[in-house]
């Protein structure tokens, strides 16, 4: 799978096959039709045909950008530390993939290559419940867009920050205070600490409530 250079055009016969491969890869990964159109210049009708042929379905419906930058970085009701960690891993895969050549690579190709690497890296030791917590390719695209595709970082809604404790590089919302945007691993560690402290108290409480 040769990288497609940034300046290659889908209409260029030298790259036509590579762009078709890219479209097939994006369809297999479940990307929305708009994303595939954006990166390959294929018409919507052709993408629908590819979907039917490769997956037996229509392209997924809904807007390209779902949620907001906060969803990927701020812990809350809809965003667990596990999801934040998945974002951390995907962005690291993308950063590493972007460095495999000295010349800039086409973003669609990078998205797909980084996403497939992310799936491969996160599949080991994965239980069936964990697998549903992984990012899908449309979320990965949205995350990258909020990060300025890691090249136009100035002004991007999400910025990367390095945890001074565990050295993890994780995304934060640039416009929000950093106080409540701590490192996801350290947050899990603090939670474990809290649970360990609460466990003896809970056991004592249960013993007291037992009759006799």
């Amino acid at each position: 799978m040769r990288p497609i250079p940034e300046n290659a055009r889908p209409g260029d016969p030298r790259w036509a096959v590579a762009f078709l491969d890219l479209a097939q890869g994006l369809v297999t990964a479940g990307a929305k039709a708009k994303i595939i159109e954006r990166f390959t210049d294929l018409p919507h009708r052709k993408i629908k045909e590819l979907y039917k042929a490769l997956r037996g379905t229509s392209p997924p419906a809904g807007p390209v950008m779902q949620g907001s930058a906060r969803y990927f970085a701020l812990p809350g009701k809809h965003t667990s530390e596990t999801i934040r960690l998945q974002c951390v891993i995907f962005l690291a895969c993308y950063e590493r993939m972007a460095k495999i050549t000295s010349t800039p690579v086409q973003r669609g190709w990078l998205l797909l290559a980084a996403f497939n690497s992310y799936l491969s890296i996160t599949e080991e030791n994965l239980s069936s419940t964990d697998s549903s917590k992984r990012l899908d390719i449309n979320q990965a695209y949205a995350l990258l867009s909020y990060c300025g595709f890691m090249t136009m970082r100035e002004g991007a809604e999400l910025q990367l920050r390095q945890c001074p404790v565990c050295s993890m590089s994780y995304p934060v919302v640039a416009a929000e205070a950093l106080d409540n945007q701590g490192c996801p691993v350290c947050a899990i560690d603090e939670n474990c600490e809290r649970l360990a402290e609460q466990a003896p108290l809970a056991r004592r409480g249960r013993r007291r409530s037992k009759p006799g």
Binding site: M1, P3, E81, T82, L85, V88, I89, L91, A92, C93, R96, M97, K99, I100, T101, S102, A113, A114, N116, S117, S120, I121, T122, E124, N125, Q162, V165, C166, S167, M168, S169, Y170, P184, V185, C186, I188, D189, C192, E193, A196
Partner: protein, 152 residues
Amino acid sequence: MVDLYKLNRKIALHWLGRLDSKHAEYLCHVPVCIGQFTHGPGELEAVLSRQSVPHHNSLGVAKLNRQYLRYARLAAKDAAAGKLDRLVRLGINLAQAEALSNLSNEAINHLAFGWEGLIVQFTPQPFTRGAALHSRAAEQHARAFVAIRQAA
């Protein structure tokens, strides 16, 4: 994955001297190589072009270099066959992968002994800090090791 675990274990052991049970448990969950290979094809070529092999390294260092190079050669061949996640797992680029995939057994031995010191770099601090976390947090830290910024 077993080979990667063994390689990571050797790298960590070399730098830390000994590994405790938390370190060993942590390494089970790391999906990438904890060592950084930062050398370009030119540097490999320069060592290989020397006619006689100066034995810079102790047997332990040479063995670790050889283990890394063998693993990297296999991973680089996989990458050339389309498994690009191997590049992410090793943190190397296409030029490095091409040079590594073309190494013969003889060249690997030449590099393993002739390279001055270890061929991979490792920053122990993130590893030891990650392993010291509560077991669940340590596991998550290990799984996200790819996102750890190591000092160059």
